[in-house]
């Protein structure tokens, strides 16, 4: 299968149409239906989606860039078979540059990028994967952005070049969208999101990795209407990030019933009770995992018995941890404590203070009585 995948990168449009004809009609309609459902469209849209996909002429050119990341999003993308086969995904798009998929390497690869950008200048979709390190490495020769160089250019330069000339920039994965794990404390490489590094607004298909259904649906949306889908304040498309995981979670009934897993492996866990008390961040996380699931609708963390860790939210590694507690800790200089500890200390202090003052009053009752008498009071 791996070889067939590479076959499609850089193919001429006509050849791609031929390849599309190989695909089973049933699979194809199933794919269109999945996309319609993901986008929240009704069944009458399915033929329109099919038509938009089949119209080869409007296939958008895609330049897929890798920055500081683990290639997890490319992995997710090429492993998906639902929406249908990987051929189909690659066929909706004309992927003209993709470092891990293309055969070319070295100078030939750099040339391919230059060509791809020139041929479709201002018209291609830049898909970005990975964060941009902005910091300067220590040492006499360090320059800003040196932590990431591809073909002699820093990540910052590459990102500005490619994103600046794109019709639209789509970030896949949390790193490109918000900086990801490497942007978390203490962030040694100064990693930031694509939009922060380039100043170009991006559409963020966040997640770790992102769900392929969502990136493909975004592209179909682009094919269908010629525009990117409506996004939330963080640039995430609302069709996928408009509701929290908790809002449609299959364990939600147990949440409302007050039936919680107390620790992994207990009776509640076996009965698939709600994972709220073992740190599930579903109530804080916008994503459509609970309806589309991952890997062809196979499973997703909560279905597998583990709480959500909020991987589609900004700075999730810092903000959503500890992953097995509900609230983040409070970091005061020198100490780290839970909010409840800080609070109970406060309450304890107030109660102790009151008790101490009451004792003082009892012992010094006379003093207060005296002040009562001494009251030629004016203000």
């Amino acid at each position: 299968m791996c070889e067939t995948r590479n076959r499609f990168v850089g193919l001429e449009p006509k050849k791609r149409v031929e390849a599309l004809e190989d695909i089973d009609r049933r699979d194809f309609i199933l794919f269109c239906t999945t996309i319609a459902a993901t986008l929240g469209l009704e069944a009458s849209w399915v033929p329109k989606i099919a038509e938009a996909v089949e119209r080869a002429a409007r296939k958008p050119s895609v330049i897929w860039m890798h920055f500081a990341e683990c290639t997890g999003d490319s992995e997710a993308f090429i492993r998906s078979s639902y929406p249908s086969t990987e051929e189909l995904i690659l066929d909706i798009l004309s992927i003209d540059y993709h470092e891990t998929l293309m055969a070319a390497s070295g100078e030939a690869a750099e040339e391919a990028l230059r060509l791809a950008m020139e041929e479709n200048d201002g018209k291609y979709i830049a898909v970005c994967e990975g964060a941009i390190p902005m910091a300067t490495p220590p040492g006499p020769n360090g320059k800003p952005g040196d932590y990431l160089r591809v073909g002699g250019k820093t990540g910052i330069e590459l990102a500005r070049e490619v994103c600046g000339r794109a019709a639209a920039v789509m970030c896949v994965g949390n790193c490109a969208s918000f900086g990801g794990v490497q942007a978390q404390y203490p962030n040694p490489t100064g990693a930031v999101s694509i939009s922060k590094a380039t100043g170009v607004p991006t559409l963020n298909i966040s997640g770790c990795p992102h769900n392929v259904v969502n990136s493909v649906a975004t592209i179909i949306n682009f094919l269908l209407l010629g525009s990117l889908p409506k996004a939330d304040k963080l640039g995430r498309p609302l069709f996928a990030y408009g509701k929290r995981i908790h809002d449609t979670c299959p364990r939600r009934a147990h949440f409302d019933a007050g039936q919680f897993v107390e620790e992994f492996g207990d009776e509640g866990a076996k009965d698939q009770w709600c994972l709220y008390k073992v740190g599930c961040k579903g109530p804080q996380t916008y994503h459509n995992c609970s309806s589309v699931e991952y890997n062809d609708g196979t499973s997703w963390p909560i279905k597998g018995g583990h709480g959500c860790i909020g991987c589609s939210e900004p700075q999730f590694w810092d903000n959503m941890s500890p992953f097995y507690e509900r609230l983040p800790n409070i970091k005061l200089p020198g100490v780290e404590a839970t909010a409840d500890k800080v609070g109970l200390t406060l309450v304890g202090a107030a109660a102790t203070g009151a008790a101490a003052h009451a004792t003082y009053t009892l012992l010094n009752r006379k003093k207060f009585d005296e002040t009562l008498k001494d009251d030629e009071g004016e203000e």
Partner: protein, 265 residues
């Protein structure tokens, strides 16, 4: 308006009954009190559901759903009564008391004097017809913390809303400014504990004052009047034209003292 004297232990122990706030304002205090208790109990449950479990099949049990329902209902009551109280602070017939709650320089200075006076028992005892400046500072704190609780609570509540609405985008912008929903939740928790802190001191101080000094502040929040020993009214005598001398004030003077003031402080 209530006015009366009662001669206890001879002429010196004359008591003055004065109106301090309308019955409406008193009622709101206790509505706020009740809703805060409900919010604290249900909120602590929502944060860590331990003391009440849903037994049976999920469709038979609604422990968490119930608690959240009570939390949101009490929150609505709290917000509505707080807004009404805010309006009353400017328009109340007996006491337009907004200035008594704000930490103006004058209030802060007087609060320090009182803190010394109440805390250690030194200095002059100052009686106040309305909220005293030390109490006022504490009340200001409670107002701030309740506002923060309501604000962060509404931000969390808005999360489940319609993502196309104006309200939703307003709240999500604010949430992003605060640094994410987890920070909002931490602030909700911390504001709660700061509120508990101030409330404990508030309650202790009111009860303590009631016992140690003769002025009865608690009746001021239940019935809306305070009872002062006549000799304590010195520092606000000027307001009412009561002249302090050995003789108790006349009935007429008493009545005047008890009439609502046009402009509090």
């Amino acid at each position: 308006m209530t006015a009366g004297t009662s001669a206890l232990k001879g002429n010196e122990e004359v008591y003055l009954v004065v109106r301090t706030r309308s019955i409406f304002a008193c009622a709101i205090h206790w509505i706020v009190f009740c809703s805060v208790i409900v919010l604290a109990v249900t909120g602590l449950y929502i944060g860590n559901p331990t003391f009440y479990f849903g037994k049976g099949e999920p469709y038979q049990a609604f422990a968490m759903a119930d608690m959240r329902f009570y939390h949101f209902t009490a929150a609505a009551v709290l917000i509505a009564s707080f807004l009404t109280r805010f309006y009353l602070a400017f328009t109340d017939s007996c006491n337009k008391d907004i200035k008594q709650f704000l930490p103006t320089p004058r209030n802060v200075i007087n609060a320090f004097k009182l803190a010394f006076n109440y805390g250690l028992g030194g200095g002059k005892h100052l009686a106040y017809r309305y909220v005293n400046p030390l109490g006022g500072i504490g009340i200001f704190g409670m107002i701030v913390f309740i506002t923060m609780l309501a604000g962060t609570g509404l931000l969390m509540y808005a999360q489940g809303g319609n993502p196309n609405s104006f309200w939703y985008s307003l709240c999500s912008s604010l949430t992003i400014m605060i640094g994410g929903i987890q920070n909002v939740r931490v602030i909700h928790h911390l504001s709660m504990y700061f509120l508990f802190f101030t409330v404990i001191i508030h309650i202790y101080m009111q009860i303590w004052k009631n016992i140690v000094f003769t002025e009865s502040d608690i009746s001021s929040i239940i019935g809306g009047y305070k009872i002062f020993p006549y000799r304590d009214i010195g520092h606000f005598a000027d307001y009412y034209g009561i002249h302090l001398d050995d003789a108790p004030p006349s009935r007429e003077e008493m009545d005047r003292a008890s009439t609502p003031m046009k402009d509090a402080e």
